[in-house]
């Protein structure tokens, strides 16, 4: 077991920890989710993602507020998407030492990495990514053979 960073929340209050614990325990008993996200026993700081399936593509949405696009590295190999980057501290250590009084700090920062396995049949050649309002959107189109097709039924 690795040391893990606690989730976003107010240190000292139990509410957010209970939410988190509940999420974690639900996740532990959910075999599908266990494969997708970082689990209870191995959780480096990681941004939250959503993956949405559309008829012709998958869309990955990731909350990365305040992270510069140049600090994000996105790679895809076959159907495995890797999102790597660094989230910088809003108030650097240096400034903390120099007359900057920190009252509350709830966010996580540091390096992060997420590896996401997409289903077979994605077109890794045509992946597009945009960033807007601190949300990164990665669009991965499906290959033609993976798209749903309607089959005509002929009457005989």
């Amino acid at each position: 077991m690795r040391l893990m960073r606690m989730p976003n929340g107010v240190p000292g209050t139990t509410g957010s920890y209970f939410d988190w614990l509940q999420d974690e325990i639900n996740r532990l008993f959910d075999p599908e989710a266990a494969e997708l996200g970082p689990g209870l026993l191995d959780r480096p700081a990681a941004p939250r993602v959503d993956i949405v399936e559309y008829e012709d593509r998958f869309e990955l949405l990731c909350d990365l507020p305040g992270v510069d696009e140049n600090d994000i590295e996105l790679t895809i190999a076959a159907n495995v998407l890797t999102l790597k980057g660094e989230k910088k501290a809003p108030v650097s250590e240096e400034r903390r030492d120099k007359g900057c009084k920190l009252y509350r700090d709830e966010i996580w920062y540091g390096n992060f990495q997420r590896t996401i396995s997409l289903p077979q049949g994605v077109d890794s050649e045509n992946v597009g990514a945009t960033s807007k309002n601190g949300v990164l959107t990665v669009s991965v189109p499906k290959r033609d053979e993976a798209k749903q097709r309607r089959i005509e039924i002929k009457s005989s």
């Binding site: 976003n8 929340g9 997708l36 996200g37 939250r48 993602v49 959503d50 993956i51 949405v52 399936e53 559309y54 998958f58 869309e59 949405l61 909350d63 990365l64 507020p65 305040g66 992270v67 809003p90 108030v91 400034r95 007359g99 900057c100 009084k101 920190l102 009252y103 509350r104 700090d105 709830e106 966010i107 996401i116 960033s131 807007k132 309002n133 601190g134 949300v135 959107t137």
Partner: protein
């Protein structure tokens, strides 16, 4: 936002950092997916009310993975008399809201000269 409407809206508290530097209090809140036009920052009596509507959550779509929190961002702070209410600034950039609250001159620490008699 009307109370009735608010009761029906799911809200989450944005996480943030609060610090003071050179007589100014900075409030940095992470509100990913909130557009400038959907953000409301206001002073009501003694309260600083921050409400941001999320517009990036996909509706009626098939979610394969769903980790991001649902709901609007909302946080209410009580502002005391040490803050100059005329000088509150808010700036939203790539999902991060930075509110600048200036302390009143009278509250700032001051060095008192000692005169030799």
């Amino acid at each position: 936002m009307a109370t009735q409407e608010l009761e029906k809206t799911a809200t989450v508290r944005p996480v943030g950092t609060i610090w003071e530097e050179g007589g100014v209090i900075y409030l940095r809140l992470e509100m990913p997916g909130v557009d400038k036009s959907d953000l409301d920052v206001r002073i009501e009596d003694d309260q600083l009310v921050i409400h941001g509507k999320r517009s990036d959550l996909p509706k009626d779509a098939h979610n394969v993975v769903r980790e991001r929190r649902r709901g609007d961002f909302r946080q209410v702070y009580t502002v005391d008399d040490t803050v100059d209410r005329e000088k509150i600034e808010a700036n939203l950039e790539s999902g991060v809201l930075l509110v600048t609250l200036h302390l009143k001159e009278a509250v700032k620490p001051r060095r008192i000269e000692i005169k030799a008699g």
